[in-house]
């Protein structure tokens, strides 16, 4: 379980360009949850993620991962990184080793595991991201395709077997096919590892389809916290923040606004089509 209580983070404190990146944010994420975080660029999302694995410290407030308070002074950073894996945006830009296997092994090695354990985890992580360890392990990461590089980078974090896996826009810049594949892979990992997965995305359809819990961040504040149905049900408020519900739901809302007697507003295409069929079939 992750418990974030009243965290506040201020950049350039006391200087003329002072800005509040996070303002009294509190929420809880249950074990086994697949949580989505939405909010546009500059809303404070990235700052929040970096707090969750100790890269940034809050100016006030606490974050508990399990029973550990990771905001406490002198807390063991390596322990936090082991518990919470963070995959940054465009993670393939962080690849540096000669071979795929060596790159994936970087994290586990830093954890001080035995060579045997490191090797086992590397193979496991590569299989989890859908790459054959035999075939890819010896290749240079730089000769892979964009989608494969991204998988390798994600494997590098997965190999640390984090209890919480955070992914910041893992599908940014990918084409539709690779996008679908990478999301499927993240779902697989979540199901196999029973970890907490946190997905940051601009793609509302993905968030609606994959997450059981959605957090909305706007201007450094947590403004919504609930199930996808609850959050996307408040589409008017989302629109005001420059966010939206999934496209199918937005389309239904638009029909409703122009007088079409739409009842329910489902979040997926098939559900939305059923509502339209009901109306047309009257």
């Amino acid at each position: 379980m992750i418990k974030v209580s009243n965290i506040t983070h201020v950049y350039s404190k006391g200087l003329p360009d002072e800005s509040v990146a996070l303002d009294d944010v509190s929420f809880t994420i249950e074990d086994g949850s697949f949580t989505g975080i939405i909010g546009h660029t500059g809303s404070g999302k990235s700052t929040l993620l970096q707090h969750l694995n100790g890269l940034l410290k809050p100016d006030s407030g606490h974050i508990f991962v399990g029973d550990t308070d990771i905001t406490e002074k002198g807390s063991n950073l390596l322990e936090i990184r082991r518990k919470v894996g963070l995959v940054f945006q465009y993670p393939e830009y962080q690849l540096f080793e000669e071979t795929v296997a060596m790159d994936v092994a970087f994290g586990p090695k830093n954890l001080g595991l035995s060579d045997e354990e490191v090797r086992a985890r590397t193979v496991e992580a590569l299989e989890l991201v859908g790459l054959d360890a035999e075939e890819f392990g010896g290749k240079s990461p730089f000769e892979l395709s964009g989608g494969q590089k991204r998988r390798v980078a994600i494997a590098g974090v997965v190999a640390m077997r984090p209890e919480v896996l955070i992914l910041d826009e893992p599908t940014a810049g990918l084409d539709p096919k690779t996008h679908k594949d990478v999301l499927g892979m993240i779902n697989d990992i979540h199901e196999k590892q029973h970890n907490i997965t946190i997905l940051v995305s601009h793609n509302m359809s993905d968030v609606a389809a994959m997450c059981d819990h959605v957090l909305v961040i706007n201007k450094g504040k947590l403004v919504m916290d609930g199930t996808p149905e609850e959050v996307f049900g408040r589409a008017d408020e989302l629109n005001e923040m420059g966010l939206s519900a999934p496209p199918a739901a937005e389309f239904l809302r638009r029909l409703k606004a122009s007088g079409v007697p739409i009842g329910r507003i489902p979040l997926d295409v098939a559900g939305a089509a059923d509502e339209i069929i009901k109306v047309l079939g009257r």
Binding site: L55, L78, R81, P91, Q94, F106, G156, M160
Partner: protein, 264 residues
């Protein structure tokens, strides 16, 4: 933090100093640095300090802003001061164990430190009151007579422009890569010097690759916008010397004369 570095930054303004032609300011800064080393007595240093204070006041750049920028260099100044303090033989005035401070060493160390401080303030005032693009344009214009002897004036200026443009981008990139590797348990803060140097590999390799990617993309974008070197190229802002610049030069000349006559 990376965002605290103000050295080399531009401070938006419309003061007299801001409005001077970049060439005037570049020449003035070079002249000022030369004069600083001509000045040999306390009077010379005092006049140099007064002149700088006057220019800072005219520029309306807050003193705090300048100080914030030169902070990182202060250690170097202190270091040179201390080194000089103990290194010059002469009439001893204080003894600290094996180290001796002499009258000569105190004088030399103080003068050197004073000069360095003035030099850094003077140079940062140039960048604070001149847009980077003005600075590079000014340098290009000033060294363009050297083209005849084969100095690639335009290319040098273009390289400086691009470097200035991409320094913030690369700093941001470095920050990102560092955080990503830290998230994988990398440690950049502890260990022996050799170990720490080795720990930089996970940052340097991706950074190197990023720089190459940027260079490639940028070269292509520049070509697409019809860039073909300095030949036949015009500028939107052509530099123009005004009466203000004349006044600036007069001030410079007077200052230099005073130092040369009384300050040695």
């Amino acid at each position: 933090m990376i965002r605290d570095i103000t050295l080399g930054q531009y401070y938006q303004g419309t003061s007299l100093i801001h409005r001077l032609d970049p060439r005037t300011k570049i020449i003035a800064t070079i002249l000022y640095i030369i004069v600083l080393f001509i000045a040999q007595n306390a009077f010379g240093l005092a006049i140099s300090t007064l002149a700088l204070i006057a220019v800072i006041a005219l520029s309306k750049v807050p003193l705090g802003f300048i100080l914030r920028g030169v902070k990182p260099i202060f250690i170097i100044i202190v270091f040179t001061f201390v080194l000089n303090l103990f290194m010059i033989p002469g009439e001893a005035i204080a003894v600290l164990g094996p180290l001796t401070i002499t009258r000569e060493s105190l004088r030399t160390a103080s003068f050197l430190a004073g000069r360095l401080v003035l030099l850094i303030f003077g140079a940062s005032l140039l960048t604070l009151t001149t847009k980077p693009i003005g600075l590079t344009d000014g340098i290009e214009k000033l060294i363009s007579p050297l083209r005849r002897i084969g100095v690639p004036a335009h290319e040098i200026a273009m390289m400086m422009t691009i470097a200035l443009r991409f320094i913030p981008t690369l700093l941001e990139e470095t920050d990102k890569i560092m955080k990503a590797q830290q998230a994988r348990g990398a440690d950049f803060e502890t260990g022996s010097l050799v170990k720490r140097a080795k720990n930089l590999i996970p940052i340097l390799v991706p950074l190197f690759i990023s720089s190459f990617r940027i260079a490639q993309d940028l070269a292509m974008a520049m070509e697409a916008r019809c860039y073909r070197g300095g030949e036949g190229r015009t500028r939107m802002n052509s530099m123009q010397m005004t009466r203000l610049d004349l006044a600036g030069f007069a001030f410079q000349a007077a200052f230099a004369a005073i130092i040369i006559i009384f300050g040695r």
